[in-house]
Amino acid sequence: MTAVAIEDVWKYYGDYPALQKITFNVDRGTCLALLGRNGAGKTTLLRILAGLSRSSKGRITIFDQDARAESTRRQISVLGHGIGVYEELSAMENLLLFARLYSLKDPHKVAMEWLERTGLARVRDGKVREFSRGMRQRLAVARAFLHHPSLLLLDEPFTALDDRAIKVLQDLMKSALAEGGTIIMSTHQLREALELATDVALINRGRLAYRGQRTREMLEDPGWLYRHYGEA
């Protein structure tokens, strides 16, 4: 069953084609590692999938609906380069805000549950600006998983995470997959990504260079894909 269908997607920034003729599907319950060099177009594609930007041409459907539809956004979660939490608010207030925006039942209970899962319960009333980098990242993870999303869009999820936050994120990603969730993640950290991934897509200068299942060769030699399908 298809979770994400990308059909002939193009994105121009002025005259520059950041994405060209991207077409592929992502099935439910799979974890797709979106690979490519810097500037290949991975973030652009993820932003279009997240409904944060519109494609210049082509069509994207998520769970058979438009990417910007409200019902789609209830089912997806985005964790990008920024942590997406407010510095002046406390950890609890940040999670309460997003619980309310997602119209979750009993926002206090849900927020408290996620603060405990990410080890932030004891600093629940502390302002985010007073948090260490690792604590902020764990709060960002809690914010992203708060509404139990069916599709996770992760842009460089392991970059700048401390060991504890990486462990928290990996465990949550594994349990999301076990529950039938779908994950699309862009990353440069090939080994961590390929360990979790069931599928791989390689983007090269805005074009889809490879799309297939993750193989044993890729796991044993993460550079293999770039050597065979990447830029010369």
């Binding site: 997240a50 997406g84 407010y86 997003f98 309310r100 914010r143």
Partner: protein, 226 residues
Amino acid sequence: MSFLRQAWAVAAKDLRSEIRSKESINASVAFALVILLLFSFAFDPTSDQVREIAGGLLWLVFAFAGTLILNRSFARELVNDCLDALLASPVSGAQLFLGKVIANFLILLAVELACLPVFTIFYNVHWTQSIWLLFVVMLLGNWGLTVIGTLFSAMTVNLRLRELMLPMLVYPMMIPALMGAIQLSSVLVSGEPLAADNQIWFRVLVAFDVIFTLLSLALVETVLVG
């Protein structure tokens, strides 16, 4: 109800952040008070001329002080990419916009209320006779300024020179609302009753508020997402 509840969640978040950081309200109040104080030295407070221009001066101060608040409205969402987190949530562009307008409206209203006593003392005006009408004009004018200012704040949020671009773009658009508010305030602070020919300015203010609120709610999704 869900539409308003989520808009209020955004507004409450902005108000809480502003109350804690005071980053725009302090600058806005200080700027407004200094301008009112400086202009009071330029005019003789006992002259009739001052009463004639007082309404205009008051609204120009509100408009200038307002842009300091409006500039921060969407810019504060850039820290930690919070705007992306909001746009990826089920909140529509219209809900996000309405929440921001409500927060900006209340912050600017607080600045205006802080300015009124200073304005009364330094310009020797008698607005207390028509306090309720003046308050209605302030609400209508304030809503007009914040609606149009918040929309342009969203448009300019990703520009490098947004602090410069916002006033350049927004002041010409504010002219009808400012004209209405200035005309009505000038009459009210001079202690005169509103004549029948002043009613047109009330209609201008109401029409401006309704048209630009609806237009902004319809356009903001395109402004934010493209």
